[in-house]
């Protein structure tokens, strides 16, 4: 019976892939993508993750850290499905929603294939192996495992990589928010309201009704919806609207000030309530989106492949290979997850066997979110998609110029359609809002209005924007804090008092430095004539995949040291692919001759324009400096990857050749008291 069920599941998945393969050139329904993806996930979970759990990791009956060290707080045995939800909420953020939308410029097919097969063979394996490794070591962090299992230098590289990726991540996510909120009084008003709402919740939970988190959060959500509805009236009011209409640059400075203040306030006041709010909203909205797509089952209007696979795409420069695989990180493979899988989650696993559902299954679920975001974006008219995601410099400032340019790219859209769309979502203009959030919001709003009626389009659009901005702001706050602690650890080596996290001046200094670092890249992105996303998103992708390479190196080391070198391919395969992708993309971003793609050739083209007298030398000097900085950063990322892989390979060879004992540094075996 069981066997028949799995044959049916496999056939349905394979059949859906068949429909996708045979219908090239015709419009197909999003339902086929969802079916193919889910079929593949189920088969991979049932067979591949079982192989990993039983043969490669040999999960057994030993007591987990949660059981041995249980303290009712961070070490706390938690039921399988509850922890699955918790882990999923911690790994899924804006990443899986933004990447697939940006990569849509290549068409929906490359993204779909990479998301589904990348997760099954790469991302889910990475999350699972790190969760397994950390669980066997009392919940050790990725950096500590790298240091203990590979060597101290590798550990240091891992730390630097984590700090660098944090800075780029915060900058690029902030840029997504800036592009969504610029000149949008409705958006700015509703996002600003989230701050006092979170503060009120914080006071409520600490002083008024201590510990009553659920009721405070529910009250917060009600207020949030009220702010959302109120935003419409603010946008329509001739006196209030100008107060909440700001340029990208002003919003960027606002975000920096916010990030700095938020990261030095006590956590109960702002960060914790904001995190509760965004987690509630995240889970609710993702469930809503899944239901919406299943009810509406939109046809995919974007072609399977667009002409932009040749690298001339307006959203970001670069060919399908390697840039589709850099642009989509979260959803396929995301190095950042290694931090969560070696953070809170391993300390909460009740039984070893649960790690399979939580590590492998949790990542499959994030991949599913990415597929839904992809469907929502692919359901948009391609002309509309490019009007929102191409930079203003390419589109020109008016709907007429934008429509003319989009026709040149081979898609049809009329100026009237563009005007009607922005009016329906309550915005003055949606042109050139690069970053993925606004086009995803339009896609989500169309799907939700398909279920609930068209007159609510504006409300749904701003709901989607608020939902994304809410957890991006939470990430800014939490990320600045993480960066601050890491920086304080470094600074402590230079002058001991700077390392004290209880010393306020040191906290202020470290927070200011981290905020300045991501703020610098943010402002650079806002002022970039190519739209900012063009340079920052690839850097983010490269750095995120770099972290994934660190995680996979650690994973391979764990497997080899456990005496299982015949299974080392499970992590070596995705590692090899990531190295090819990351190094190719990094090389092209630095050295490519096309000024839109290569940082150095862009710097040269600017210098040429100054020499020809067609550009202000002061602006040019800034742009050239930024190009060189970005090039240097890409170079540093590539150097770290190469150094890390060399160190790891030497360690593997030493173990394989018997020069080093194949011993893992696991916590000794203790039988679990939990019965099956």
């Amino acid at each position: 019976m069981n066997r028949i069920l799995w044959i049916v599941v496999s056939l349905v998945g394979a059949g859906a892939w068949g429909v996708i393969a045979l219908n090239r050139g015709e419009t197909i329904n999003a339902a086929w993508l969802v079916l193919a993806a889910v079929g593949t996930y189920l088969v991979a979970y049932r067979f591949y993750s079982r192989f990993l759990a039983r043969r490669v990791f040999e999960l057994d009956q030993r007591a987990t850290p949660a059981e041995r060290l249980s303290n009712g707080r961070d070490y706390c045995p938690t039921t399988k499905w509850v922890l699955f939800g918790h882990h999923f909420a911690a790994i899924a953020g804006a990443g899986p929603l933004v990447g697939p939308v940006l990569a849509m410029q290549f068409g929906w097919l490359p993204g779909t294939l990479w998301i589904v097969f990348g997760v099954v063979l790469g991302g889910a394996v990475q999350d699972f192996v790190i969760l397994f490794g950390s669980m066997r070591r009392d919940g050790k962090s990725l950096g500590k495992m790298a240091r203990d299992e590979i060597g101290p230098v590798t550990g240091l590289f891992a730390m630097v990589a984590i700090l660098a990726i944090m800075v780029i991540l915060l900058a690029v996510l902030a840029l997504v928010v800036v592009n969504a909120l610029k000149d949008s009084p409705w958006g700015i008003f509703s996002i600003l309201c989230t701050i006092p709402i979170a503060l009120m919740m914080g006071v409520w939970m600490r002083f008024l009704r201590p510990g009553k988190t659920i009721e405070a959060t529910v009250a917060g959500i009600v207020l949030l919806i009220a702010a959302l509805v109120g935003g419409r009236y603010v946008a329509l009011s001739p006196t209030l609207a100008p107060l909440f209409t700001h340029s990208g640059l002003t919003i960027a400075w606002g975000l920096m000030i916010y990030g700095f203040i938020a990261s030095v306030l006590p956590v109960w006041l702002l960060l914790a309530p904001r995190d509760y709010l965004s987690t509630f909203m995240k889970i609710g909205t993702i469930v809503l989106l899944a239901i919406g797509i299943l009810i509406v089952m939109p046809p995919l209007r974007m072609p399977a492949l667009t002409r932009f696979i040749d690298g001339t795409g307006p959203v970001f420069a670069g060919k399908l290979f390697p840039f589709a695989f850099i642009t989509i990180a979260c959803g396929a493979i995301s190095g950042f997850h290694a931090l969560v899988s070696s953070g809170t989650t391993p300390k909460m696993i009740r039984r070893e066997g649960d790690a399979r559902l939580i590590g492998y299954g949790g990542m499959l679920t994030e991949s599913f979110v990415a597929i839904m975001a992809l469907c929502a974006a692919a359901a948009l008219d391609p002309g509309i998609y490019f009007s929102i995601n191409a930079p203003l410099a390419a589109l020109g400032g008016t709907v007429e110029s934008a429509a003319a340019q989009i026709r040149q790219w081979g898609f049809t859209v009329t100026p009237e359609q563009l005007t009607a769309l922005s009016a329906s979502v309550g915005e003055a203009s949606l042109l050139g809002r690069v970053g993925g959030a606004p086009s995803l919001a339009v896609g989500m709003a169309s799907i939700f209005s398909g279920v609930f009626g068209r007159h609510l389009m504006g409300l749904w659009y701003h709901f989607a924007i608020m939902f994304e901005a809410l957890f991006i702001l939470t990430t800014l706050d939490a990320g600045t804090r993480v960066g601050r602690f890491m920086l304080q650890e470094f600074l402590g080596h230079i002058w001991e008092p700077l390392g004290r996290t209880s010393w306020y001046p040191s906290n202020l200094l470290a927070s200011a430095l981290i905020t300045a670092a991501w703020g610098y890249f943010l402002v650079q992105g806002v002022l970039d004539p190519l739209g900012g996303i063009n340079s920052l998103w690839p850097l983010f992708g490269i750095s995120n995949q770099l972290l994934a390479a660190v995680a996979l190196c650690v994973g391979t080391t764990l497997i080899i040291k456990a005496g299982k070198k015949r299974y080392a391919w499970v992590t070596l395969l995705p590692l090899a692919w990531l190295l090819v992708v990351t190094l190719t993309a990094g090389w092209q971003k630095i050295f490519a001759a096309d000024p839109r793609l290569g940082f150095l050739s862009h710097a040269r083209s600017i210098a040429d324009r100054v020499a020809a007298g067609s550009m202000d030398p002061a602006i040019a000097a800034r742009l050239i400096w930024n190009d060189r900085l970005d090039a240097a950063l890409a170079g540093i990322f590539m150097t770290i990857v190469v150094a890390l892989v060399i160190a790891s390979v030497r360690e593997w060879l030493a173990v394989i050749r018997g020069k080093k004992p194949a011993v893992v540094k696991e916590t000794p075996f203790v039988e679990s008291a939990y019965a099956n």
Binding site: S70, G72, R73, D74, C76, T78, T79, V82, L83, G85, H86, A89, A90, I91, A92, G93, A94, G95, L169, L173, M205, R206, P210, G211, T213, I214, T217, V267, W268, L271, A272, D275, Y276, T279, F280, I283, A329, C330, S334, F336, H337, L339, V340, G343, T344, T474, T475, A478, G479, T480, R481, V482, G483, R484, F485, T501, F540, N544
Partner: protein, 70 residues
Amino acid sequence: MRTNGRLDGWSAGRLENFLSDLKRICGMPDYPGYLQHMAERHPGSDVLSEREFFEAHVNARYGNGASRCC
């Protein structure tokens, strides 16, 4: 439903379990769960008040900057 206006034992227990699961999924402090843990594993020792537990939990979870994903 009992006549005294309170939910009967079955559905009250259900609701409590659901809220406890919801809190854990969202990373919120679960005070009843903590009390249960203390009663089972450390009977007789002092327990934190709900407010102390909230502060300890929030500081443990966010104090060093909660790692989270993009």
